[in-house]
């Protein structure tokens, strides 16, 4: 099983709902709390497993705005795991989720340097590395109704831009989306083989025009209407 996310950049409006849902779930979750630094001060920041990056493509007036929510890609070739000197970082064999054992992490930052996606977050208050767990504490919680056994970022997404599932299963919704919508990996050339995929913007639907009935002049147009009556 390869659990992961498929994120639709055709509908992502960059609203940050997923960012904050992730924060509120995970701060009381298995890696919690997610420390906030200077929450009311000069440089507010904090541990967040998911961040939205916004880019502009092309130039005015043909520019397009793309929102890219980014979190751990749960790579198949997870160098963040390989480089971990203590064995704290691991990729679960059964579902591919990359996790960090907080008791073994010494906060050396090697994994953060190894990760090209910026997915690793050092919690400076405790000196350990934290990261997206795919809400492992939700997705397997059988006391939650089945529909809720999904990552917090997925259930909250107002534009349904996030889909969670097994990328190993060709019949899963995530696999179908990747197939049908030309899903792609972020920076595949780096060779980490990310499990998460992105869907590109859909092609602009072809909009037809109706020419209507042009007349040589607007006076003619007026004349054409003179006898027009409607039933009230």
């Amino acid at each position: 099983m390869k659990l992961g996310l498929v994120i639709d950049t055709d509908t992502c409006v960059g609203c940050h709902a997923c960012v904050v849902a992730c924060k509120q779930w995970n701060t009381s979750g298995t890696l919690g709390p997610l420390t906030d630094y200077q929450p009311y001060g000069k440089e507010p920041s904090g541990v967040a497993f998911n961040r939205v990056r916004t880019y502009e493509v092309d130039t005015y007036p043909n520019n397009k705005t793309i929102n890219m929510p980014m979190s751990c890609m749960h790579c198949e070739t997870a160098d963040c795991v390989t480089v971990c000197p203590t064995g704290a970082s691991f990729k679960r064999a059964e579902d591919g989720i990359v996790l960090v054992d907080q008791d073994k992490c010494m906060g050396c930052n090697l994994c953060a340097w190894a990760c090209p996606y910026g997915a690793r977050e050092l919690d400076e208050a405790v000196g350990t590395m934290k990261k997206c767990t795919l809400c492992v504490d939700r997705i397997y919680d059988e006391q939650l109704p089945e529909a809720e056994r999904q990552p917090a970022c997925v259930i909250t997404c107002p534009t349904s831009a996030r889909t969670f599932g097994d990328l190993d299963d060709p019949d899963s919704q995530v696999s179908r989306l990747v197939r049908e919508r030309n899903g792609y990996q972020s920076m595949p050339e780096l060779g980490y083989n990310p499990v998460n995929h992105y869907l590109p913007p859909r092609h602009k639907p072809h909009a037809e025009t109706t020419p209507g009935a042009s007349l040589p002049s607007l006076t003619e147009r007026f004349k054409s209407w003179l006898d027009k009556a409607v039933v009230r």
């Binding site: 609203c15 701060t27 420390t35 906030d36 200077q38 001060g41 504490d137």
Partner: protein
């Protein structure tokens, strides 16, 4: 549990039998669900009012998620809603009633804590005196409250006409234009048919109106392959995912819409049957220039509008079913007066070359071909891809139809349209375009939400007269239909403190909150005694001209008395305005109170289903705070308002929830429509149900009434719907709702401006000119008023603002999680334009308007129209306010554009200074601002300007923590075994 974890961690790896089963066995139990409780209530992190499920653990919030059953958000939740925990944790929460410290000056921020008894006794005495002498000396204005039905009732019972909510500086142009034209509007009044539309045009919508409903809707459209066109000077937010972005010059949308109307007319692409049957297009307009009846609708002896019956060649009542009404032509009435049909006037006006795409291209800064193409694309969808829903329905005249015909072109518009001084007419232009395409309340089009549609306009007139100890005879706000309805005295002078319904703003249906402080301090039209502000940051981001308004709040007369004698601020947080209060009444947060989100108020209905909802407390307050609605019911009892006391003059209601349960507007109609009747078995109308709140709680906090299919479309003319709407109290009559393309109401005011109206006339020439120019009975485009008065060469940029999707006003820019996303606003401008001016990305600039100047930091971007600069509103804060540290970037580097915006138009040769508002509705013209941009000196870089003194902390305020480690229970960790480490290498 622990043993199990250890055991499983040492289990050998390899091919797990079933991954899920293995995982389930292997993982610990992360949450102790038995220690948690899930409660349903309504979000209040913005104005959408989504349903939420709050998981509470030890009187703390574990998690807030969208309620999947809720009609508004269907389970999803935006960034704001997800940040509710940090709203609750805010160190800026008010904790106790406060009074300005004796001997200190207003605005110094010195307060003493007082008890509720002391605070309310003091306030009651003051209000009792005002009410017994001149009730309008109390002005009560509310911000983003969701209980205007209650605050309005309270003001009416008090007897003051000086009440309104924030609509006058938000979107009254949109609301008024819709209600005077089509009986509904955008936003809370109607929705695009997200499930059926094939073409969607979004006009001037910032990132928050609405939040989740639009996001859900846009995804549906895109999934179905509908085209999404965004008309907006800025490409952020929703515009990011638009299939086509139309970067329009601010304030010119009316021209664009009318040019599209020109294209449709010139190509004969108009839904004639729809226009002829459901609008006033065939009505006859008297053509009698220079006379008092010029431009009025010709009427019969019963005051019914006349049409020319092409079949009989006679003039007949235009509401006669089946009449063959001529749409075009000139007709002479039996009394000799000449008339023309409304449609003739429309065609003549918009076929004129001044509305041709080539002309609009110059005004809007868009290619003429684009304007024409967009119009023809919409026409294609409306007429070549129309949809039909087979369903028998009966029209107002009793005629049966076997289907609903749908024109699947939908639109939504918001503050980018309404916050200009030409916004009322712009919004009318959009509705004209919609009606040409036949898209109002049809499948695939723009559909009303109960209690809309209402009659054009709803038959409620604003109260005018006040008397001591006497409730108003009508609500303070209503819909004038002629100059007789204005709230002015015999000399034509304004009677309301905000000058709403005066000659300066005749259709000010939501009041002019942005003028209250200025007018009260100037004693114009008269001084007041007490101003109560609820949830409105009127000394900062919700006011124009912030710096001057702060000075006004401190201003004293020659005898040393404050010109605004007493300011009461009701809020849950330490805003900049709290700092100026004489009395502070601390409100609860949204998670700590009851609320009724009523159909008597701003509804949360969906097109297919009238809905209302409640808030219920999910947390116990840990401070000495009270919900304002409880305090209002308490005050109403103390002051003896007739609706709130019994025969003995004793308070009739135990509190807010009791009031909501038992109060009836009319027999059987109360605040909440669900589970009425003594046994809770009646909906929409029925006797009060003592257990109504419980029933709402059982149903997840909301009530949804599903309209039968035959009552879901064409409701303006749908007999069964209209009769039902009357029965449940939405409308006083079941007559059909005629869409007014031509507004006779506007024409009456225009006649008054021309000195021809047979009734009250404006005494001052400036009003006469404005009425004559801007009260065109047909939608028109004109250059926004500030732009007319300032030198375009000196101030070449349009300056506008919007809120980021993750923040709603100052409420959320204080939020510890949300300010990690944005804690400083920039001034955004078009990259190429900036580079031509030698302005570099991230450099600091001076931004100057006719009203003053500010210093701000620039960000260059592609997605910004070339003549436009813009910023995020309400990020900038006064140092020390909202529980933020004095060196927070919000106050040091962030800025308010408000300093540049005057509440008054630049002076001209008028008899008096005029409000910077739409001349029809008084809507605050926030987005008319014109500015210049010049680079700042190098030594000026690094901080914004102006600077303000640091607001002092309030008594008892906690010291904001340097670090937050929020969690509701200790984390249950996931551990990896050494064996596992070894085996996997």
């Amino acid at each position: 549990m622990k043993n199990k974890v250890l055991q499983m961690l040492f289990a050998p790896n390899g091919a797990a039998p079933s991954a899920e089963a293995a995982a389930a066995q292997e993982l610990p139990s992360f949450e102790d669900h038995s220690a948690q409780e899930k409660r349903h209530t309504t979000c209040y992190m913005c104005a959408c009012r989504c349903g939420i499920e709050v998981t509470v653990e030890d009187n703390q919030v574990r998690f807030i998620r969208g309620n999947p059953d809720h009609p508004i958000n269907k389970g999803v939740l935006c960034a704001k809603g997800n940040a509710g925990i940090m709203k609750q944790m805010s160190p800026a929460k008010l904790r106790n009633p406060l009074m300005r410290k004796p001997g200190t000056e207003r605005g110094e921020g010195e307060f003493v804590e007082v008890s509720w008894d002391e605070a309310l006794e003091h306030l009651t005495e003051r209000l009792r005196e005002i009410r017994a002498t001149d009730p309008k000396k109390l002005a009560f204005f509310t911000g983003r409250d969701q209980m205007q039905a209650l605050t309005g009732l309270w003001a009416q019972q008090f007897g003051t006409i000086n009440w309104a909510a924030h609509g006058g500086f938000c979107s009254v142009n949109m609301a008024a234009a819709g209600l005077y034209s089509i009986g509904q509007s955008f936003w809370e009044f109607g929705d695009p048919d997200w499930d059926r539309a094939k073409y969607f045009m979004l006009w001037g919508v910032a990132e928050d109106h609405a939040s989740n409903p639009i996001k859900i809707g846009i995804e549906k459209l895109k999934r179905r392959g509908a085209k999404f066109v965004a008309v907006n000077p800025v490409r952020t937010g929703y515009q990011a995912v638009a299939d086509e972005w139309v970067p329009i010059r601010p304030g010119t949308d009316g021209m664009l819409a009318l040019a599209m109307c020109h294209v449709l007319l010139s190509r004969d692409l108009v839904d004639w049957d729809y226009l002829g049957r459901y609008t006033n297009a065939p009505f006859l307009v008297i053509d009698n220039p220079g006379q008092g009846d010029d431009g009025l609708i010709a009427r019969d002896d019963e005051d019914q509008p006349l049409v020319f019956d092409a079949a009989s060649g006679t003039f007949v009542d235009g509401m006669t079913p089946g009449v063959q009404a001529a749409l075009f032509g000139e007709y002479t009435l039996p009394d000799g007066r000449r008339t023309r049909t409304v449609m003739s006037l429309i065609a003549e006006k918009y076929l004129d070359p001044q509305y041709a795409p080539e002309k609009a291209a110059e005004v809007c800064g868009l290619p003429a071909e684009t304007i024409e193409r967009l119009a023809l694309e919409m026409a294609h969808v409306a007429f070549k891809e129309s949809i039909e829903i087979e369903c028998e329905w009966t029209d107002w005249a009793g005629r049966k139809h076997d289907r609903f015909i749908g024109r699947p072109v939908a639109m939504h518009a918001m503050r980018g349209i309404s916050a200009h001084s030409n916004g009322f007419q712009t919004c009318r232009a959009l509705h004209l375009l919609q009606v040409f395409l036949g898209t109002i309340d049809v499948p695939g089009g723009h559909r009303a939400k109960a209690p809309f549609p209402r009659h054009t306009p709803p038959p409620i007139k604003p109260a005018r007269d006040t008397a001591p100890n006497t409730p108003l005879s009508a609500p303070p706000l209503g819909f004038p239909t002629s100059p007789e309805d204005l709230v002015v005295d015999d000399q034509g002078r304004p009677l309301r403190i905000d000058k709403a319904y005066s000659w300066e703003a005749p259709l000010a249906n939501h009041g002019l909150m942005h003028m209250v402080i200025t007018n009260a301090v100037n004693g114009d039209p008269y001084p007041i005694d007490t101003l109560i502000l609820f949830m409105a940051n009127m000394a900062w981001n919700s006011t124009m001209n912030t710096n001057s308004v702060q000075d006004m709040l401190r201003a004293k007369d020659d005898e040393g008395h404050y010109k605004l004698p007493f300011l009461v601020v009701v809020d849950a947080f330490h805003s900049e305005t709290v700092n100026f209060a004489d009395l502070v009444l601390p409100d609860t947060t949204y998670l700590e109170r009851h609320d009724a989100i009523s159909m008597l108020d701003r509804p949360i209905s969906e097109p297919d289903s009238p809905c209302d909802s409640v808030r219920v407390p999910v947390l116990e307050p840990d401070r000495n705070v009270r919900p304002w609605q409880e305090v209002m019911v308490d005050l109403a009892g103390r002051l003896g308002f007739p609706a709130f006391v019994d025969e003995q003059g004793q308070p009739k209601y135990e509190g807010y929830t009791d009031f909501i349960t038992r109060w009836e507007k009319a027999p059987g109609i109360g605040f909440l429509a669900g589970w009425r009747g003594e046994n809770g078995d009646q909906h929409m109308r029925g006797a009060p149900n003592p257990n109504q709140w419980d029933r709402y709680k059982e149903n997840g906090g909301f009530f949804q009434y599903h309209l039968p299919e035959h009552m879901r479309f064409y409701r303006f003319a749908n007999r069964d719907y209209l009769e039902w709407a009357k029965e449940v109290g939405f409308n006083p009559s079941s007559k059909p709702i005629v869409m007014e393309l031509y507004s006779e109401v506007l024409q009456k005011f225009r006649l008054a401006g021309q000195g021809l109206y047979d009734g009250p006339l404006p005494p001052e020439s400036v009003d006469r000119e404005r009425l004559a120019h801007y009260f065109d009975p047909l939608p028109q485009y004109y250059v926004p008023l500030e732009e007319q008065r300032v030198d375009a060469k000196r101030y070449p940029f349009h300056a506008i603002n919007q809120r980021p999707m993750h923040m709603y006003h100052s409420w959320d820019s204080q939020n510890a999680w949300l300010r990690q996303i944005t804690s400083q606003n920039y001034l955004f401008m078009n990259r190429a334009r900036g580079e031509r001016l030698g302005i570099e990305d991230k450099s600091w600039v001076w931004v100057e308007s006719h009203n003053g100047r500010i210093r701000a930091q620039i960000k260059l971007m592609e997605g910004c129209q070339e003549d436009t600069v813009w910023t995020w509103n309400a990020i900038g804060k006064q140092s020390g306010a909202w529980g933020l540290s004095p060196d927070a970037p919000e106050s040091k580097r962030g800025f308010l554009m408000n300093h540049l915006i005057s509440e008054l138009l630049p002076a001209a040769d008028d008899e008096r200074r005029l409000t910077n508002s739409d001349p029809v509705t008084g809507q605050a013209a926030w987005y008319d601002l014109q500015v210049s941009i010049t680079p700042a000196e190098p030594e000026e870089a690094g901080s914004s300007w102006p600077h303000f003194d640091t607001v002092k902390p309030l008594p008892g305020a906690p010291t904001p923590p340097d670090q937050l480690r929020y969690q509701t229970h200790e984390a249950v960790p996931l551990r990896r075994s050494f064996l596992d480490i070894i085996k996997r290498r």
